[in-house]
C-alpha cells in the first residue's frame, strides 16, 4: 500500500496543476462579476487612500526639497543707500566664507515683482516715488540644520550700517519639515490600519467562500485530498482579490491625479512655478500591486487555516 505522495507523478503535473487551480479560481471570480467587483472595490479604496496620501506627501517633499539648501537671508537696505554702494556691498559679502552667493534686487526689480505677485500694481501708480528699498538676498553656505551659525551670520549682517533689517527665513522651513514628518508617520499608521482592514475583508470573503464549498471540501478530504490541495484554490482566490484590488487602486489613483492635475498646474502658475504633479511611477506601482497580492494571500491564508480544520468528513 502507498501512504506517501508519488513524487515523480506529482512533480510532473505540479506546475500544470497550479496553473489550472489559479485559472480556476479566477474563473470562479469571473462567474460572479458583481460580487467580485464589490469586494475588489472595497480593497481598492482601502489601498488607494494611503497611496493618495503618499503621493501628496511625496509632491510636497519635492516642492520643499529645494529649500533646505537655499535658506535665504533677506537684507533690506536703508532706502537712502545707492545702487552703486549696494553693489560694492555685494562684492564684499561674497568674499565671506559662510556666504555662497548674493543676489541684488534693485528698486525697479522689486517694484516689478511686487506688481506681479501682489496684484496691487495699479495702486502703485498713485505713489510719487518708489518706496521700496534695495534688497540683497544672501544664500549662505550653511544649512538649515546648523541654526546657531546661521543665526550668528544674520546678526553680523544686521550690524552693517547699510542694512536696515536682516531677516532669516528658516524657521518656517523647519516647521514645514516637522509637519511633513508628522504626516509621514500618520500615513504609516493609516496604511497599517487599512492593510489590516484589507486582510479582514479578504479573510471574511474567503471564509464565506469556504462555507459555500463545504460539501466539496468534505468530499475532497474523503477521497484523499491533502490539506495543501484543498487550501490551494482559496489561496489563489485571495491572491486574485488582492491583484484585482491593487490594479483598481492604481486606476483610482491615476484618475484622481488626472482630475487634480489641471487645478494644481494653475495654482503653480500663480506662484510662478513650473511644478508638475508627479504620479506613482513604475516602481511604486509594482510595489502597490505586490503589497495588495501579498495582503490577499495572507488574508486568505488566515481564513483557510482557521476554517478548513472545522470541516472534516463525518
Amino acid at each position: 500500500m502507498r501512504y506517501s505522495p508519488q513524487k515523480s507523478s506529482l512533480l510532473r503535473s505540479y506546475f500544470g496543476h497550479h496553473l489550472r487551480v489559479s485559472l480556476g479560481s479566477l474563473g470562479r471570480l469571473y462567474k460572479q462579476p458583481i460580487a467580485t467587483m464589490m469586494t475588489a472595490a472595497v480593497i481598492a479604496i482601502a489601498l488607494a487612500l494611503p497611496v493618495g496620501l503618499y503621493i501628496g506627501l511625496a509632491n510636497i517633499g519635492q516642492v520643499s526639497s529645494g529649500w533646505d539648501g537655499s535658506t535665504q537671508i533677506s537684507l533690506f537696505l536703508h532706502t537712502r543707500v545707492k545702487k552703486g554702494d549696494a553693489q560694492k556691498l555685494v562684492k564684499r559679502l561674497e568674499k565671506h566664507r559662510d556666504i555662497k552667493k548674493v543676489e541684488l534686487i534693485d528698486k525697479e526689480q522689486g517694484l516689478q515683482q511686487f506688481k506681479e505677485i501682489s496684484g496691487f500694481g495699479d495702486a502703485l501708480k498713485y505713489l510719487d516715488n518708489n518706496p521700496l528699498p534695495i534688497v540683497l538676498v544672501v544664500h549662505p553656505r550653511i544649512l538649515a540644520s546648523q541654526p546657531d551659525r546661521t543665526t550668528k551670520l544674520v546678526k553680523d549682517l544686521g550690524k552693517n550700517k547699510m542694512v536696515e533689517l536682516a531677516q532669516l527665513d528658516v524657521q518656517w522651513v523647519k516647521r514645514l519639515y516637522t509637519f511633513i514628518e508628522i504626516a509621514n508617520r500618520s500615513i504609516w499608521v493609516i496604511s497599517s490600519m487599512l492593510a489590516i482592514a484589507v486582510l479582514l475583508i479578504i479573510g471574511n470573503t474567503i471564509r464565506l467562500d469556504i462555507q459555500s464549498r463545504r460539501e466539496e471540501i468534505e468530499v475532497s478530504k474523503l477521497i484523499g485530498a491533502s490539506d495543501a490541495f484543498i487550501r490551494r484554490p482559496f489561496l489563489y482566490t485571495g491572491f486574485w482579490y488582492g491583484a484585482i484590488g491593487g490594479i483598481l487602486a492604481w486606476i483610482i489613483t491615476l484618475l484622481s491625479l488626472m482630475m487634480m492635475e489641471n487645478p494644481i498646474h494653475k495654482l503653480a502658475l500663480l506662484y510662478h512655478s513650473d511644478f508638475q504633479l508627479s504620479g506613482l511611477g513604475a516602481g511604486n506601482t509594482l510595489l502597490l500591486i505586490t503589497i495588495s497580492c501579498t495582503l490577499g494571500l495572507i488574508g486568505s491564508w488566515i481564513a483557510v487555516s482557521r476554517h478548513l480544520k472545522e470541516i472534516e468528513p463525518s
Binding site: Y3, R12, Y14, H17, E215, S220, I223, G224, P313, S314
Partner: protein, 230 residues
C-alpha cells in the same frame, strides 16, 4: 487486507460504538457488514477510512498500522480506498465527468490519463453516455453508479460501501451489488455495510453481524481470535 485487533470505540459522551471487535478480511475478499442501525456498522467503516480513530486496539490496513499514521498522512491512506455512501455525496456544481475525475486530479494524474480512466470507470458502471450530464438530472440509481465510478476510478485496493442500496428498489439494488461483485472478481477487496439481509443472502458472500458494537456472527474464514498480522 483489513485486520481489526480488539478494537473499541467510545465517542465523547460515553457511547460505546464498538467493543473489542476483532475481524480479519483477506486481500481479494468480499464481505458484508450487517446489523441494526446503531450497531456500529458505520463506525467500523469510519475507522478504516480514518474518519474516526479507535479508542483502543489496533487496525492494520494492508499491513500498515493505522495508529502510526499521523493526521497529515491520512489523505495518502484514503487514496488506497474507494468509499461509497448512501447519499452518494456527488457535487452538483459540475458534470458527471468532473465528479468522477476528482480522485485522479487530487493524485496529480495527467490530463490524458484522467480522460482514459474516467471514461473506463463510467463505462464499467454503464454511464459513459452521461459523462457531460449534470448529476442532478440523473435518477437515484444512476447517481449511485456515478458515486461508484468515482470510488473505483483510481483503482483502489479496497472498496468500502455504506448502505449503497439504501434508497434503491430491489432490482436496482441487485444491479449495484452485482457491480461490486464484478470489481471483487478483478481483485478488489470489498466491504459493504447493509441491512438488506435478503439481498446479502442472494450474493453468497460471507457476512459479519454486529450487535450493540460487538461481533455477533462472523462468517469470514479463519478470523476470530487471530492476532497475527497480515
Amino acid at each position: 487486507m483489513i485486520h481489526f485487533d480488539n478494537i473499541s470505540k467510545r465517542y465523547p459522551g460515553g457511547h460505546d460504538a464498538l467493543s473489542q471487535v476483532s475481524i480479519r478480511l483477506e486481500k481479494g475478499q468480499m464481505a458484508f457488514l450487517t446489523g441494526h442501525s446503531g450497531a456500529g456498522k458505520s463506525t467500523l467503516l469510519k475507522l478504516i477510512a480514518m474518519i474516526e480513530r479507535p479508542t483502543r486496539g489496533q487496525i492494520f490496513l494492508d499491513g500498515v498500522n493505522l495508529n502510526n499514521i499521523s493526521n497529515r498522512k491520512i489523505p495518502y491512506i484514503r487514496r488506497n480506498i474507494g468509499i461509497i455512501f448512501q447519499n452518494h455525496h456527488l457535487l452538483y456544481d459540475r458534470p458527471v465527468f468532473d465528479n468522477v475525475a476528482m480522485p485522479l486530479i487530487i493524485q496529480g494524474y495527467r490530463r490524458q490519463e484522467i480522460h482514459k480512466r474516467v471514461r473506463a470507470a463510467l463505462n464499467q458502471v454503464g454511464l459513459l453516455s452521461k459523462e457531460k450530464s449534470d448529476p442532478i438530472t440523473l435518477s437515484g440509481g444512476e447517481q449511485q453508479r456515478v458515486g461508484i465510478a468515482r470510488a473505483i476510478v483510481h483503482k483502489p485496493l479496497l472498496l468500502l460501501a455504506d448502505e449503497p442500496t439504501g434508497n434503491l428498489d430491489p432490482e436496482l439494488s441487485r444491479e449495484i451489488m452485482d457491480l461490486f461483485a464484478r470489481f471483487n472478481q478483478v481483485g478488489t477487496t470489498v466491504l459493504i455495510a447493509s441491512h438488506n439481509l435478503d439481498l446479502i443472502k442472494q450474493m453468497g458472500s460471507p457476512m459479519i453481524s454486529l450487535q450493540d458494537g460487538r461481533v455477533s456472527h462472523n462468517g469470514l474464514p479463519f478470523s476470530v481470535g487471530s492476532s497475527q498480522e497480515l
